[in-house]
């Protein structure tokens, strides 16, 4: 064979190797078996879940408790139920699992009063003059502005919040009611908060994972600095209950950093860690708290934000179609 022929053959072999070596180089999808699905779930949470130490959870002992229940021939519903129970051990509203079999999530409101009767607010305080903008409901009660924000999932625009706050321009103070607001997008909370801040302030310290160990964290301070805000420095009262969670929890925490803001109601639900989604080879989707946050005073935001004034709805007020928290807030503003 000539020298040129050898070169041709070598080149051809090299090209064939390059064209087909993807199969050699790439790994394969993980096996879809009950054992493997369980192991992937446990291992991913072991490396990435952020609240083991904060909550005092021994994740290895949880593995020891649940792993014996897993076997290759188990039914999907049993596997889902076992994984769900394991996840519930974390007692975290941001950690759940869902599939075509259902949705298993921790109820962080267990043992707390609702402290909110929507139809009383609707009839007595919003009334026929109720206005709506970007999902926010508002009205003026005597000389105090009342704003109900039921969710931070609906987009709240800069124009929207400006319209609302402009409407309250001649009021003595503002009540912002976030009861039963289970969170949403931090971006919308910032749009609102911006108008109440007087200067740059430290609002929380975010802890992110920097390694696979349960205590491997680095921290980044988070500030809010007002930009072209309306400068609302009049007395402001935030009404809270246990159902206020995640982005709502952050909203309450950030607003509580301001001297002209008071919190009335109950401790919020928490949810300080940003939830992160992932999935298993069988298609089930789960999420977990991937980081954690602390208030500037060092308190974990996952424990919820305690109110300045602990107030619950009384039976007497309920029967008179009165909301005790709103009445208390009106008195605070009018003091």
């Amino acid at each position: 064979m000539t020298k040129q022929g050898i070169i041709y053959i070598l080149l051809l072999l090299t090209l064939l190797a390059i064209l087909s070596c993807e199969r050699i180089l790439t790994s394969q999808d993980p096996e879809n078996s009950p054992t493997n699905n369980f192991e992937i779930l446990w291992d991913n949470l072991d490396r990435k879940y952020s609240l083991f130490s904060t909550k005092g959870i021994d994740w290895d002992s949880i593995y020891q408790a649940y792993r014996p229940e897993i076997h290759e021939n188990m039914h999907n519903s049993s596997l889902f139920e076992t994984m769900g129970r394991m996840i519930l051990e974390l007692k975290d509203g941001h950690t759940d699992i869902r599939s075509n079999l259902g949705h298993i999530e921790y109820d962080y409101t267990t043992g707390y009063r609702k402290n909110f009767v929507p139809h009383i607010v609707k009839v007595t305080y919003l009334g026929p003059k109720e206005k709506e903008r970007d999902g926010m409901l508002y009205n003026i009660i005597d000389t105090v502005g009342y704003l109900y924000i039921g969710s931070f999932t609906t987009e709240i625009t800069e124009d929207g919040i400006r319209d609302v706050l402009d409407y309250f321009s001649d009021t003595k103070g503002i009540i912002i009611d976030v009861r039963h607001n289970t969170g949403g997008n931090d971006r919308y909370t910032k749009i609102i908060v911006n108008h109440f801040f007087d200067r740059k302030r430290l609002v929380e310290v975010n802890h992110y994972k920097t390694g696979q160990g349960h205590d491997d964290f680095g921290s980044i301070d988070r500030y809010i600095e007002p930009k072209n805000g309306l400068g609302i420095f009049k007395p402001t009262v935030i009404l809270t209950n246990r159902y206020c969670y995640s982005a709502c929890n952050s909203f309450v925490s950030w607003m509580s950093a301001l001297p002209h803001v008071s919190l009335v109601g109950d401790t919020t639900g928490g949810g300080g860690g940003t939830p992160h989604f992932s999935e298993l080879p069988n298609g089930w989707i789960y999420r977990y708290s991937a980081n954690k946050s602390y208030r500037p005073d060092g308190l974990s935001m996952d424990d919820g934000i305690p109110p300045d004034h602990y107030v619950t709805i009384t039976k007497r007020d309920s029967t008179r179609w009165r909301d005790t928290l709103i009445e208390y807030a009106l008195d605070l503003v009018n003091e």
Partner: protein, 264 residues
């Protein structure tokens, strides 16, 4: 400080390399388009491979003479990718790359063959946006690569038809990836710098033990007229990054490009 110094030296090398661009006697500017087949395993989001087909656009500048072969290419790809499991998971994948290969001809007695050896600087940015998950829905891999390149130019029948094969294997890399539980890079968190510079400098300088990449570009160039060349090619790229969230990506490109001869 050691980290910044490494980054600084890498950037200096990049700038100095650019200034070494030669004055050559053939310059071609081309535009191409084609289809891409993408595959990504990004454990920031999922342990499953996401696969999908999309399109690509390419802008290229090519210089070649008896001594050098230089190729500058900007490639954009977009695909919708999904895993092979029964749920609604899917993601939009955007890839952008800015690649430069500079090679020098190796002396050879074969008339039909030209062999070039040199180096490359590959810059690629892959972003995937999950369509179903509202939090941390973005993931990315920004890679700056340096390493050797091999170019073979073979014209078996006539000088109007050339077969080319470019092979690049990076050995020194700067990689920016999300940290374990957030899209912010780990280096940025360690130094409490969430700003843009913190993110850019928060990556990791790696070599073959943590990051592997191979890029192969095979194409045929046909001289259609004194001014125009037509290229049909196949490009294959593979990346594997093993730090924290394992990342593996591969794509196949089939493309057709028209090159215009700027000067001779």
């Amino acid at each position: 400080m050691k980290h910044e110094m490494r980054l600084f030296l890498t950037i200096c090398f990049f700038i100095l390399s650019l200034q070494a661009w030669p004055q050559q006697n053939t310059t071609m500017l081309g535009f191409g388009t084609g289809v891409s087949r993408n595959m990504i395993l990004d454990e920031f989001h999922s342990p499953m491979f996401y696969r999908g087909t999309g399109y690509m656009l390419q802008l290229g500048l090519n210089k070649q003479n008896d001594r050098n072969y230089d190729q500058l290419a900007i490639i954009y790809q977009k695909s919708k990718i999904s895993p092979d499991i029964r749920n609604n998971s899917a993601a939009h994948l955007y890839r952008g790359s800015f690649d430069w290969i500079r090679t020098y001809r190796v002396k050879s007695e074969a008339e039909k063959w030209m062999i070039y050896l040199g180096f490359h600087i590959l810059t690629s940015y892959d972003v995937s946006s999950h369509t179903e998950w509202p939090n941390n829905s973005y993931s990315h891999c920004l890679a700056f690569n340096l390493g050797p390149s091999l170019v073979l130019d073979y014209s078996p029948w006539t000088t109007d038809i050339h077969f080319y094969w470019e092979l690049s294997i990076p050995v020194l890399n700067y990689i920016i990836r999300p940290s374990l539980g957030a899209i912010i890079p780990e280096g940025s968190i360690r130094r409490a710098r969430p700003d843009i510079w913190g993110v850019v400098s928060g990556g990791e300088l790696t070599s073959l033990h943590e990051y592997q990449r191979i890029r192969s570009n095979l194409y045929i160039s046909f001289r259609d007229s004194p001014r125009f060349n037509i290229r049909a090619g196949y490009q294959w790229d593979f990346q594997n990054y093993t730090v924290n969230n394992h990342y593996q990506s591969a794509y196949h490109l089939l493309y057709l490009a028209v090159y215009y001869r700027l000067k001779t």
